[in-house]
Symmetry: C2
Subunit: 117 residues, 2 copies
Protein backbone atom coordinates (compact mmCIF):
# COMPACT_ATOMS: atom_id res chain seq x y z
CA UNK A 1 0.00 0.00 0.00
CA UNK A 2 1.21 3.46 -0.83
CA UNK A 3 1.58 5.90 1.98
CA UNK A 4 3.40 9.11 1.11
CA UNK A 5 4.18 11.56 -1.69
CA UNK A 6 0.75 11.10 -3.12
CA UNK A 7 -0.27 14.60 -2.13
CA UNK A 8 2.12 16.17 -4.59
CA UNK A 9 0.93 13.88 -7.35
CA UNK A 10 -2.62 14.71 -6.48
CA UNK A 11 -1.86 18.41 -6.48
CA UNK A 12 -0.18 18.20 -9.88
CA UNK A 13 -3.05 16.14 -11.27
CA UNK A 14 -5.53 18.74 -10.05
CA UNK A 15 -3.63 21.54 -11.73
CA UNK A 16 -3.23 19.60 -14.96
CA UNK A 17 -6.91 18.78 -14.97
CA UNK A 18 -7.80 22.44 -14.69
CA UNK A 19 -5.36 23.32 -17.45
CA UNK A 20 -6.55 20.38 -19.54
CA UNK A 21 -9.26 22.39 -21.20
CA UNK A 22 -8.53 24.43 -24.29
CA UNK A 23 -10.48 27.46 -23.14
CA UNK A 24 -8.92 27.58 -19.69
CA UNK A 25 -5.45 26.88 -21.01
CA UNK A 26 -5.83 29.78 -23.44
CA UNK A 27 -7.13 31.97 -20.62
CA UNK A 28 -4.11 31.23 -18.48
CA UNK A 29 -1.71 31.89 -21.33
CA UNK A 30 -3.50 35.12 -22.13
CA UNK A 31 -3.50 36.45 -18.58
CA UNK A 32 0.17 35.56 -18.30
CA UNK A 33 0.75 38.11 -21.04
CA UNK A 34 -2.04 40.64 -20.54
CA UNK A 35 -4.38 41.45 -17.72
CA UNK A 36 -7.80 40.73 -19.11
CA UNK A 37 -11.42 41.16 -18.07
CA UNK A 38 -14.43 38.93 -18.48
CA UNK A 39 -16.08 40.76 -21.36
CA UNK A 40 -12.84 40.55 -23.32
CA UNK A 41 -12.81 36.80 -22.92
CA UNK A 42 -16.39 36.70 -24.10
CA UNK A 43 -15.24 38.41 -27.29
CA UNK A 44 -12.05 36.38 -27.61
CA UNK A 45 -13.68 33.00 -27.29
CA UNK A 46 -17.05 33.85 -28.75
CA UNK A 47 -18.52 32.22 -25.69
CA UNK A 48 -21.39 33.14 -23.38
CA UNK A 49 -20.62 35.34 -20.38
CA UNK A 50 -21.70 32.72 -17.82
CA UNK A 51 -19.56 30.06 -19.49
CA UNK A 52 -16.54 32.38 -19.37
CA UNK A 53 -17.31 33.29 -15.79
CA UNK A 54 -17.47 29.66 -14.76
CA UNK A 55 -14.14 28.83 -16.35
CA UNK A 56 -12.59 31.83 -14.61
CA UNK A 57 -14.06 30.71 -11.34
CA UNK A 58 -12.33 27.36 -11.62
CA UNK A 59 -9.07 29.09 -12.33
CA UNK A 60 -9.59 31.54 -9.49
CA UNK A 61 -10.74 28.92 -6.98
CA UNK A 62 -7.65 26.86 -7.70
CA UNK A 63 -5.46 29.91 -7.11
CA UNK A 64 -3.90 29.87 -10.57
CA UNK A 65 -5.26 33.29 -11.46
CA UNK A 66 -6.22 36.26 -9.36
CA UNK A 67 -8.70 39.05 -9.87
CA UNK A 68 -8.65 42.77 -9.39
CA UNK A 69 -11.74 44.91 -9.49
CA UNK A 70 -11.50 48.20 -11.34
CA UNK A 71 -14.84 49.91 -11.36
CA UNK A 72 -17.31 47.71 -13.12
CA UNK A 73 -14.63 45.51 -14.55
CA UNK A 74 -12.86 42.62 -12.95
CA UNK A 75 -9.40 42.04 -14.35
CA UNK A 76 -7.83 38.63 -14.23
CA UNK A 77 -4.12 37.96 -14.17
CA UNK A 78 -1.76 35.16 -13.38
CA UNK A 79 -1.37 34.71 -9.63
CA UNK A 80 2.37 34.93 -9.12
CA UNK A 81 1.87 34.11 -5.43
CA UNK A 82 0.33 30.76 -6.24
CA UNK A 83 2.36 28.05 -4.49
CA UNK A 84 2.64 26.15 -7.76
CA UNK A 85 3.16 29.20 -9.92
CA UNK A 86 6.44 27.94 -11.35
CA UNK A 87 4.82 24.64 -12.29
CA UNK A 88 2.10 26.48 -14.15
CA UNK A 89 4.62 28.81 -15.75
CA UNK A 90 6.72 25.94 -16.97
CA UNK A 91 3.72 24.55 -18.80
CA UNK A 92 2.40 27.73 -20.33
CA UNK A 93 5.78 28.92 -21.50
CA UNK A 94 5.64 26.07 -24.01
CA UNK A 95 2.48 27.50 -25.52
CA UNK A 96 2.40 29.94 -28.42
CA UNK A 97 1.92 33.54 -27.44
CA UNK A 98 -1.69 34.67 -27.50
CA UNK A 99 -0.81 38.33 -27.54
CA UNK A 100 -1.98 38.62 -31.14
CA UNK A 101 -5.49 37.97 -29.91
CA UNK A 102 -5.32 41.00 -27.66
CA UNK A 103 -3.96 43.03 -30.53
CA UNK A 104 -6.90 41.93 -32.65
CA UNK A 105 -9.25 43.08 -29.91
CA UNK A 106 -7.52 46.43 -29.83
CA UNK A 107 -7.71 46.72 -33.61
CA UNK A 108 -11.46 46.17 -33.34
CA UNK A 109 -11.74 48.73 -30.58
CA UNK A 110 -13.00 46.06 -28.22
CA UNK A 111 -10.20 46.24 -25.74
CA UNK A 112 -11.29 47.55 -22.36
CA UNK A 113 -8.69 50.10 -21.48
CA UNK A 114 -8.18 51.70 -18.14
CA UNK A 115 -6.57 55.00 -19.01
CA UNK A 116 -6.07 55.89 -15.36
CA UNK A 117 -3.84 52.98 -14.47
Amino acid sequence: MITNETIELQTAANILKILGDKTRLAMVKIVSENECCVCEFVDLFDMSQPAVSQHLRKLRDSGIVKERRKGQWIYYSLNTSYPYYSFVLQIIKELPSQHYRIEELEAQGKRVTCCDE
Copy 2:
Protein backbone atom coordinates in the same frame (compact mmCIF):
# COMPACT_ATOMS: atom_id res chain seq x y z
CA MET B 1 13.60 37.04 -32.78
CA ILE B 2 13.85 33.81 -30.90
CA THR B 3 11.41 31.25 -32.17
CA ASN B 4 10.83 28.72 -29.48
CA GLU B 5 9.14 25.59 -30.60
CA THR B 6 5.70 25.68 -29.11
CA ILE B 7 2.88 23.23 -28.82
CA GLU B 8 -0.56 24.07 -30.11
CA LEU B 9 -3.10 25.00 -27.47
CA GLN B 10 -5.51 22.22 -28.37
CA THR B 11 -2.75 19.63 -28.42
CA ALA B 12 -1.39 20.80 -25.10
CA ALA B 13 -4.87 20.81 -23.56
CA ASN B 14 -5.44 17.24 -24.71
CA ILE B 15 -2.19 16.08 -23.16
CA LEU B 16 -2.84 17.95 -19.92
CA LYS B 17 -6.31 16.47 -19.71
CA ILE B 18 -4.92 12.96 -20.01
CA LEU B 19 -2.28 13.72 -17.39
CA GLY B 20 -4.85 15.46 -15.20
CA ASP B 21 -5.80 12.28 -13.45
CA LYS B 22 -3.87 11.10 -10.43
CA THR B 23 -3.74 7.48 -11.52
CA ARG B 24 -2.56 8.23 -15.04
CA LEU B 25 -0.10 10.85 -13.87
CA ALA B 26 1.40 8.32 -11.47
CA MET B 27 1.51 5.72 -14.25
CA VAL B 28 3.40 8.05 -16.54
CA LYS B 29 5.88 8.97 -13.83
CA ILE B 30 6.35 5.32 -12.97
CA VAL B 31 6.97 4.16 -16.53
CA SER B 32 9.40 7.02 -16.99
CA GLU B 33 11.49 5.35 -14.30
CA ASN B 34 10.68 1.67 -14.69
CA GLU B 35 9.12 -0.42 -17.39
CA CYS B 36 5.99 -1.79 -15.82
CA CYS B 37 3.29 -4.28 -16.68
CA VAL B 38 -0.43 -4.22 -16.08
CA CYS B 39 -0.56 -6.61 -13.15
CA GLU B 40 2.02 -4.50 -11.36
CA PHE B 41 -0.18 -1.44 -11.71
CA VAL B 42 -3.06 -3.45 -10.34
CA ASP B 43 -0.98 -4.08 -7.23
CA LEU B 44 0.44 -0.56 -7.08
CA PHE B 45 -2.90 1.21 -7.27
CA ASP B 46 -5.03 -1.43 -5.61
CA MET B 47 -7.33 -1.04 -8.57
CA SER B 48 -9.20 -3.51 -10.75
CA GLN B 49 -7.44 -4.88 -13.82
CA PRO B 50 -9.97 -3.45 -16.29
CA ALA B 51 -9.71 -0.02 -14.69
CA VAL B 52 -5.94 -0.12 -15.01
CA SER B 53 -6.20 -1.37 -18.56
CA GLN B 54 -8.54 1.45 -19.52
CA HIS B 55 -6.22 4.10 -18.11
CA LEU B 56 -3.30 2.54 -19.97
CA ARG B 57 -5.31 2.50 -23.17
CA LYS B 58 -5.84 6.25 -22.93
CA LEU B 59 -2.14 6.76 -22.40
CA ARG B 60 -1.28 4.41 -25.25
CA ASP B 61 -3.85 5.82 -27.66
CA SER B 62 -2.53 9.32 -27.07
CA GLY B 63 1.00 8.11 -27.80
CA ILE B 64 2.41 9.11 -24.43
CA VAL B 65 3.35 5.56 -23.51
CA LYS B 66 4.21 2.53 -25.60
CA GLU B 67 3.85 -1.16 -24.98
CA ARG B 68 6.04 -4.18 -25.51
CA ARG B 69 4.79 -7.71 -25.22
CA LYS B 70 6.99 -10.21 -23.44
CA GLY B 71 5.30 -13.54 -23.28
CA GLN B 72 2.07 -13.15 -21.36
CA TRP B 73 3.05 -9.77 -20.05
CA ILE B 74 2.72 -6.43 -21.72
CA TYR B 75 5.23 -3.90 -20.51
CA TYR B 76 4.51 -0.21 -20.67
CA SER B 77 7.12 2.49 -20.91
CA LEU B 78 7.38 6.14 -21.80
CA ASN B 79 7.26 6.66 -25.56
CA THR B 80 10.39 8.65 -26.26
CA SER B 81 9.34 8.95 -29.91
CA TYR B 82 6.16 10.78 -28.98
CA PRO B 83 6.15 14.15 -30.79
CA TYR B 84 5.44 15.91 -27.51
CA TYR B 85 7.73 13.77 -25.42
CA SER B 86 9.72 16.75 -24.17
CA PHE B 87 6.53 18.49 -23.09
CA VAL B 88 5.48 15.44 -21.12
CA LEU B 89 8.95 15.05 -19.69
CA GLN B 90 9.03 18.62 -18.54
CA ILE B 91 5.87 18.04 -16.54
CA ILE B 92 6.72 14.71 -15.00
CA LYS B 93 10.21 15.72 -14.00
CA GLU B 94 8.52 17.99 -11.45
CA LEU B 95 6.88 15.03 -9.78
CA PRO B 96 8.39 13.09 -6.91
CA SER B 97 10.08 9.87 -7.92
CA GLN B 98 7.81 6.86 -7.69
CA HIS B 99 10.66 4.40 -7.75
CA TYR B 100 10.07 3.56 -4.13
CA ARG B 101 6.79 2.01 -5.18
CA ILE B 102 8.56 -0.39 -7.46
CA GLU B 103 10.98 -1.18 -4.67
CA GLU B 104 8.07 -1.95 -2.39
CA LEU B 105 6.69 -4.31 -5.01
CA GLU B 106 10.06 -6.01 -5.22
CA ALA B 107 10.26 -6.29 -1.44
CA GLN B 108 6.90 -8.04 -1.50
CA GLY B 109 8.03 -10.34 -4.26
CA LYS B 110 5.32 -8.94 -6.51
CA ARG B 111 7.59 -7.50 -9.14
CA VAL B 112 7.29 -9.30 -12.46
CA THR B 113 10.85 -9.92 -13.49
CA CYS B 114 12.00 -11.05 -16.85
CA CYS B 115 15.28 -12.76 -16.06
CA ASP B 116 16.00 -13.31 -19.73
CA GLU B 117 16.08 -9.67 -20.75
